[in-house]
Structures are given as C-alpha cells and as structure tokens.
C-alpha cells in the first residue's frame, strides 16, 4: 500500500518536472532576447530539477542513492546561480550589454525616468573595466 503511494507520488513529481522542463525549453525558444531567455532557463534550473530529483529520491528509498541524489540537488542549487550570474556578467561585456537603465517596453511604468546626466554616469560606471 505504502509502496503504491510512493510510486504514485514519484510519478506525479516526475511528470510535473517534465512539464516544467518543457516549459523552460519553450521559453528558451520563444523569449525575445538573451536576458529573458535566461529567466526561462532558470525554471529548468530550479523547480524542474527539484521535482525530477525529488521523484527519483522517492523511488530510491532509504539507500546511498538517496544521499547521492540529495547531494546532486544541493550542488545544482549552489552552482546554478553562480553560472547564471557569470553568464549575465559576460553578456554585460558584449554587444548585449543592457542599455543604461531604460525600460524596454512601455509597461514598466513604475520606474522613475532617468535623467541624461544620470545616464552618462551610469554608462561610465559600467564601462570602467571595458576600456
């Protein structure tokens, strides 16, 4: 009885994980530019891996495999943001550098409009290590 419940739970977790993986992949293909695509990749990085590894952990039962899967999860959660940050920083030094604090699209109404002087200072600060 308990076994069936565990199987069912792990099946659900694996299926949900697959769904989130797929969503991340679709986002990666559909989103317009580098930075937004990174957000889509974040989905596969976090919840999808958690669900899939969690489902596998349920199947593994109390064994060494459980600890190993747990460790994989831990390492992924620690290294994921570092890799994302490295990518974003690398993009800052390339042609995809974020324009100095203007919002793309008009929906971001919450921002205060940046002044010209602030823009220049911003660009200077960002470019110090490029020159």
């Amino acid at each position: 009885m308990i076994e069936q419940v565990v199987w069912l739970l792990s099946g659900c977790a694996l299926a949900l994980g697959c769904f989130f993986m797929l969503s991340g992949a679709v986002g990666l293909l559909r989103f317009p530019d580098f930075y937004t695509r990174m957000h889509a990749a974040g989905v596969t990085d976090t919840l999808a891996t958690f669900l899939i590894l969690g489902g596998l952990m349920l199947l593994a039962g109390w064994s060494l495999a459980l600890f190993k899967l747990g460790m994989i999860l831990l390492f992924l959660f620690f290294t994921g943001p570092v890799a994302s940050h490295a990518l974003a920083r690398a993009a800052q030094h390339s042609e995809w550098k974020l324009p100095a604090l203007k919002t793309r699209g008009e929906q971001g109404g919450a921002t205060e409009p940046p002044t010209a002087a602030a823009d220049v200072a911003e660009a200077d600060a960002l470019n110090t290590d490029r020159v």
């Binding site: 969503s23 976090t46 919840l47 940050h85 604090l101 919002t103």
Partner: protein, 161 residues
Amino acid sequence: MRYTLSLIGILAFIWLANSGLYTPLLLTFGLLSIALVLLLARRMQLVDRESQPLHLATALPGYYWWLFRKIVQSNLQVVSCVWRSLFGNRDAAISPIHMRVRTNLRTDLAKVLYANSITLTPGTVAVELDGDEILVHALAADGIEELRRGEMERRVGALEE
C-alpha cells in the same frame, strides 16, 4: 580551528556518502584525499568564516524554506509567462525591465547571499553587484517591485545577526 574541523566533517561525509565501499584500503585513500584537500584549502586561505558560515547554521534552514516557497511561486509565474507567450501575443506576455536595486546589507557574505537568492528565483537575475547596488534584470516589473519592498533583504539581514 572549528572551521578546519567542520571542513573535515563535510569532506568525510561527502566521501563516505559517495563511495559506498568501506574497505580499509579505500578508507585510507579517503583519509589521504581529505588531508590533501585540507592542506590545499589552508594554503589558499580558504578555511574561514566566509567559506563556512557556521554562525548561520541555525538560521539557514528557515531561510531556505522561505526561499524555496518563493522559488516555487516565481517558477509558476515564469511558466505562465512562457505559455502565454506561446499561445497568446508574444510581446504582451512579458515586459522585461532592469534596474539598480539599493541594498543596506553591510557584509560581503550577506550581499552575496542576497544576490544569489535573487538569481535563484526565476524571473529575476542579479547581473552585477557593485558596492551597495545590485543591477537586477527581471521578466516583469513586479519582480523588481517585490525586491524594492525588501522582504528578502530583511530576511538575509536577519541571518547575519
């Protein structure tokens, strides 16, 4: 000293959990490799408060739990954006924005924790950490609004005390 001890403990745990074979020969190899890693880490001066934040050990699980719920929440938001952009109007689904978020966190450790937490939640990425400002790129404006409200920052700050 206690940082060295905790490093030994962690390394021994990783070795034991990954090997699964407990013959004397392999355990000796394990001890030798732990000693080697310890020697290297000491020489590189990596064994300190920053690499092993023992003082956070009691508070971290609570923060991780909160962060995990946050991650699930923002995952659902990003996934809904993805499917809306697939089936609806591609440009209406998302409104990417980036902004500098000011932080009051003082220590490097707290700042890195904060920035990593921002990156770990899908929908917001910490692009650059510069002094007490973090350049954040977000999929929608409310992601940044939420950071501005500062709940995450407050929780990271509470960890350090």
